[in-house]
């Protein structure tokens, strides 16, 4: 570099310029995130696209295509946000600010639901509460003579319950982190001033956690609005459509431009929401889960409410995590949903084909298609985790080390854009961009590569966020001292930065892995016969009414996620012996 530089000084200026790397990363991120968004926009500006706009926004159809799904979506979003804040806030208050028994246990119970995919909860609900309105096998209660009204079996109520059960742990995490930053001194000084308990809660504690409440509400709202699995399984069969299920329906029935228009509108809605909540709270802090530590918190004595509240909190956890898993497990063994706990058979797991059960279908482990799907799913999880973390690291590294460049700020904002894009809309955008051949690029529709790209883009914010956390722990000094030895950038990355970052990278990687392995809303549009994925197969079985198969596959997904988490945990301890010693 020195010789090159001495020959052409202007070149040295360029090479040393702080903008090169940020610009490269910016171009890359644009290609991954912004280009598909532009493509989907352009696709709706064609004559067909304009017709779709017309049909959706201003035609006799718009009531069914847009206004009713929009209404349902909003009800689900608002209901989920309120329910999550109540449940999550209650649990966070109990765990952080009171002397409730077994607080650590409750804390773990409260974050578990998020580990379970929302379609698992939806399937469990269906297994229990399904009635005979649509024919097929009725659920456990209906079969046992407990009549289940339609509103409890299908539609908006069960969807809402399932969404709350899935998302409340997100609200819990954010509120708990914020509550633990309320220091005991603060509370005690209020006590000294003579304030009563209620006054302290509303006058001191609540204002401090308001930002967490707002961002928790917004994130759960956004999550519910873009969720596909729950409304698709519980609502769509009775024509309760949300924007997500409508997009899916449009793409499925070949009205692709209408799907694009709806995807654009959904994105706009999500973006507007998150934007305003972001304005309300300060910046990106909303998305960082702060591991509150240090500040001593003051715990209120619950008195005789200690045990009743403990039992109530435990029940919430049991109902939202343990019971669904038990139901899925039992159902995967039970010949009929009506008799969940007797006559167990392994047929749905390993039974041969051609018997009288399950319309002659073989058990899932006898189904070569399914074995294939297990491997494809794991491969997808690993590939996406690897790609997302690599991209996340590169972007985070650029953000941290090239602070001075104006492009770095744009890059940092751009990398969070996917947070505003519901997965199903992202999938639609990727179809718009790469679905047909693009110049020299072949059409990627239905390929593994397309799913990987879309998933990487979709999960980029999480990857960047965890990579930033990782790099934040590696001081500039550590890296500069490596630079002083004359080691090149690649060597420094490989031998200094990477080993140090390993633990955090694995933590981020497993998050991405789990998110994609259990994902439905992204792959539902991108999936094809050549890329069989477990979640898709479970969804298809459920749509066909084979609940046992769907439930068994869902359990397989859960087990894969659990094993992966366990492996990562062991590896982490191996890798960083130098830290625990």
């Amino acid at each position: 570099m020195a010789t090159l530089a001495s020959r052409a000084p202007w070149m040295a200026r360029v090479v040393q310029s702080r903008d090169i790397v940020p610009l490269i990363m910016l171009a890359f991120t644009t290609l991954l995130v912004i280009a598909p968004l532009l493509m989907i926009l352009f696709a709706t500006l064609t004559p067909d696209g304009m017709a779709a706009w017309q049909a959706i926004t201003n035609s006799p159809l718009s009531r069914n295509l847009w206004w009713r799904p929009l209404g349902n979506t909003m009800i689900l979003g608002a209901g989920t946000a309120i329910g999550c804040l109540l449940l999550g806030g209650f649990l966070a208050w109990l765990v952080v600010l009171t002397d409730v028994p077994a607080r650590r246990f409750l804390a773990i119970m409260s974050i578990l639901p998020f580990m379970i995919p929302s379609f698992a909860a939806a399937l469990a609900w269906s297994t229990l509460f399904r009635n005979d309105r649509l024919g097929g096998q009725a659920g456990y209660f209906a079969s046992n003579g407990i009549p289940i009204p339609d509103w409890l079996a299908w539609g908006i109520v069960p969807t809402l319950i399932v969404l709350i059960a899935h998302y409340y742990s997100l609200a819990y995490t954010m509120i708990a982190a914020s509550l633990s930053s309320v220091s005991g001194d603060l509370v005690e000084s209020a006590e000294m001033a003579g304030a009563k308990r209620g006054r302290i809660l509303f006058g001191i504690v609540l204002p401090i956690v308001t930002p967490a409440l707002i961002s928790g509400g917004m994130l759960t709202f956004a999550g519910a609005v873009s969720n596909f699995a729950a409304p698709a399984l519980l609502g769509a069969p009775v024509r309760m459509q949300t924007l997500s299920t409508r997009i899916y329906g449009m793409v499925q029935t070949g009205n692709i431009e209408r799907g694009y228009v709806l995807a654009l509108l959904l994105m706009l809605m999500a973006a507007a929401l998150l934007y305003f909540s972001d304005r309300f709270v300060s910046g990106r802090r909303a998305f960082v889960t702060v591991t509150g530590k240090g500040a001593r918190t003051k715990r209120f004595a619950l008195g005789r409410w200690r045990w009743p509240l403990f039992i109530f909190a435990t029940l919430i956890g049991v109902i939202t995590t343990i019971i669904p898993v038990i139901v899925l497990f039992a159902s995967s063994m039970a010949p009929r949903p009506g008799v969940l706990f007797s006559n167990w058979t392994l047929h749905f797991w390993i039974g041969p084909a051609g018997t009288s059960i399950a319309e002659g279908q073989a058990g899932i482990f006898r189904n070569p298609h399914l074995i294939d799907a297990v491997f494809t799913t794991i491969r997808l999880g690993l590939t996406v985790a690897g790609c997302a973390m690599l991209v996340g690291l590169l972007i985070a590294y650029t953000i941290v080390r090239y602070k001075a460049s104006p492009y770095t700020r744009i890059l940092s904002q751009l990398s969070f854009v996917p947070l505003f894009i519901p997965s199903i809309a992202m999938a639609a955008a990727y179809i718009a961009m790469y679905g047909t051949s693009l110049g020299p690029l072949p059409a990627l529709y239905g390929t593994f590569a397309l799913i990987v790209m879309a998933a990487t883009a979709n999960l980029m914010p999480y990857a960047v966020q965890s990579a930033r956390g990782v790099l934040g722990q590696i001081s500039a000094d550590i890296e500069e001292s490596a630079r002083m030895t004359g080691a090149g950038a690649v060597r420094r990355m490989a031998q200094i930065v990477f080993p140090l970052a390993m633990r955090g990278i694995m933590a981020g990687g497993i998050l991405v892995f789990i998110k994609i392995v259990r994902d439905l809303s992204l792959v539902v549009l991108l999936f094809s016969a050549s890329t069989p994925l477990l979640s898709m197969i479970a969804f298809n079985y459920a749509s066909l009414g084979f609940m046992q198969f769907a439930n068994a596959i869902t359990l397989v997904i859960l087990v894969i996620c659990l094993i992966a988490s366990g492996l990562v945990h062991i590896l982490q301890n191996k890798v960083q012996g130098w830290k625990s010693k």
């Binding site: 570099m1 020195a2 530089a5 001495s6 000084p9 202007w10 040295a12 200026r13 040393q16 001081s475 000094d477 550590i478 500069e480 001292s481 490596a482 630079r483 002083m484 030895t485 004359g486 080691a487 060597r491 031998q495 200094i496 080993p499 140090l500 960083q576 130098w578 830290k579 010693k581």
Partner: protein, 371 residues
């Protein structure tokens, strides 16, 4: 003045090990290092001293090659390694310099041995050479026991030694140290100070040492540059800076205790401080207002026959080697004076200060030396 000439002769005689010319570093509009000129012969121990934020680290990082200069040049042994004009910055490794970081910056996932070995590996040393050199530096710094420990398992002082061992491993011609002792406790700091000087003698590497602690500067340096707001306030051997400070800033920054500049105004044939006649005005002809520099040992408590006396308010006192270092205030002016034996008074009490000798130096109101 004569001393200054000598100094320049000395440095001009051989190719300087480090020559800094018109060096400037700007961050956006902020000038962190402002037109600095320093050069030192091979084997020197140059100390950059100044209050925090004066640009010491920035200057050192430019020497290390971690920051390119905005303007000016740095040459090691006559070879330009950084130049603001041509934009050339040779990379840190090829300039034969090693840097000890204030935070030590040990690589936490490598053992002590691994930390020392890696730079040698990067430099392409053979396995045998590496093993030999590692043994050598471990022994030299007396840390053989720690060979297989990880940085998190050893104390701050030991980490410091490892950081130094790692830096001197590849035998750099220039050793750069950024406040290496600031994270150690007082006792360890004194020990490490002599240790560093031993290392300097043994390696003969030209060293640049950054500190905000003037005691370190005065004890270790062959050359001192006092920095203030990115500029060199004064550059020279430590004794010269002590004896003939060129500015009041240098006079008040260096020395234990530091000197006392006192504002005085010409009235008739004398410079007056308030109503007290301090000294004959012949000392600085043609100046109306001046600052008179008195050493702490030239002022004491209690009137003496025939010497100027001023009233002051007692603030505090600290015993030092059989004497007391007394701090007192005259209005906003803080003075440090020496009293024999143990001296203490009620804080706020009025005491009399006596100026035993004529001022050491006279400065103008801008703080520049007149005589």
């Amino acid at each position: 003045m004569e001393k200054q000439m000598n100094m320049e002769n000395r440095t001009r005689s051989a190719t300087p090990a480090i020559a800094i010319t018109n060096l400037t570093k700007r961050f956006d509009d902020f000038t962190a290092v402002d037109n600095i000129n320093i050069s030192v012969p091979p084997g020197s121990f140059l100390v950059l001293v100044g209050p925090s934020g004066c640009g010491k680290s920035t200057l050192l990082r430019m020497l290390a090659g971690l920051e390119p200069p905005t303007e000016g040049e740095i040459a090691f042994n006559g070879k330009v390694v950084s130049s603001g004009r041509s934009g050339v910055t040779t990379n840190p490794a090829s300039r034969d310099a090693g840097l000890v970081f204030q935070s030590y910056a040990l690589w936490p996932h490598k053992t002590v041995e691994g930390n020392i070995e890696w730079p040698l590996k990067v430099a392409g040393w053979s396995r045998d050479d590496r093993a030999r050199r590692i043994d050598e530096v471990l022994k030299f710094l007396d840390i053989e026991r720690l060979r297989n420990h990880y940085p998190a398992e050893i104390s701050g002082g030991q980490q410091q030694r490892v950081a130094i061992a790692r830096t001197i491993g590849p035998r750099p011609g220039v050793l750069l140290l950024d406040e290496p002792l600031s994270n150690l406790d007082a006792k360890l700091r004194v020990d490490m100070r002599s240790e560093l000087m031993r290392i300097h003698r043994a390696t003969k590497a030209t060293s640049v040492y950054v500190t905000h602690d003037q005691v370190e500067a005065m004890t270790m340096a062959t050359h001192v540059a006092v920095l203030r707001d990115g500029r060199v306030e004064q550059f020279g051997p430590p004794d010269e800076l002590l004896r003939t400070p060129q500015t009041t800033f240098v006079a008040t920054f260096l020395g234990t205790p530091a000197g006392n500049p006192i504002p005085a105004t010409r009235e008739g044939g004398a410079f007056m401080f308030g109503k007290t006649e301090m000294v004959s005005a012949d000392l600085a002809p043609g100046h109306e207002k001046v600052q008179l520099l008195y050493r702490a040992q030239d002022i004491t408590v209690g009137a003496r026959e025939g010497r100027p006396v001023v009233k002051a308010t007692y603030a505090e006192s600290a015993p030092i080697a059989g004497q007391s270092m007394v701090t007192c205030m005259i209005g906003d002016l803080r003075l440090t004076v020496m009293v024999d034996g143990f001296y203490r008074a009620e804080p706020g009490a009025e005491i009399e200060l006596c100026f035993l000798r004529d001022p050491d130096a006279v400065f103008n109101t801008d703080g520049q030396r007149i005589s």
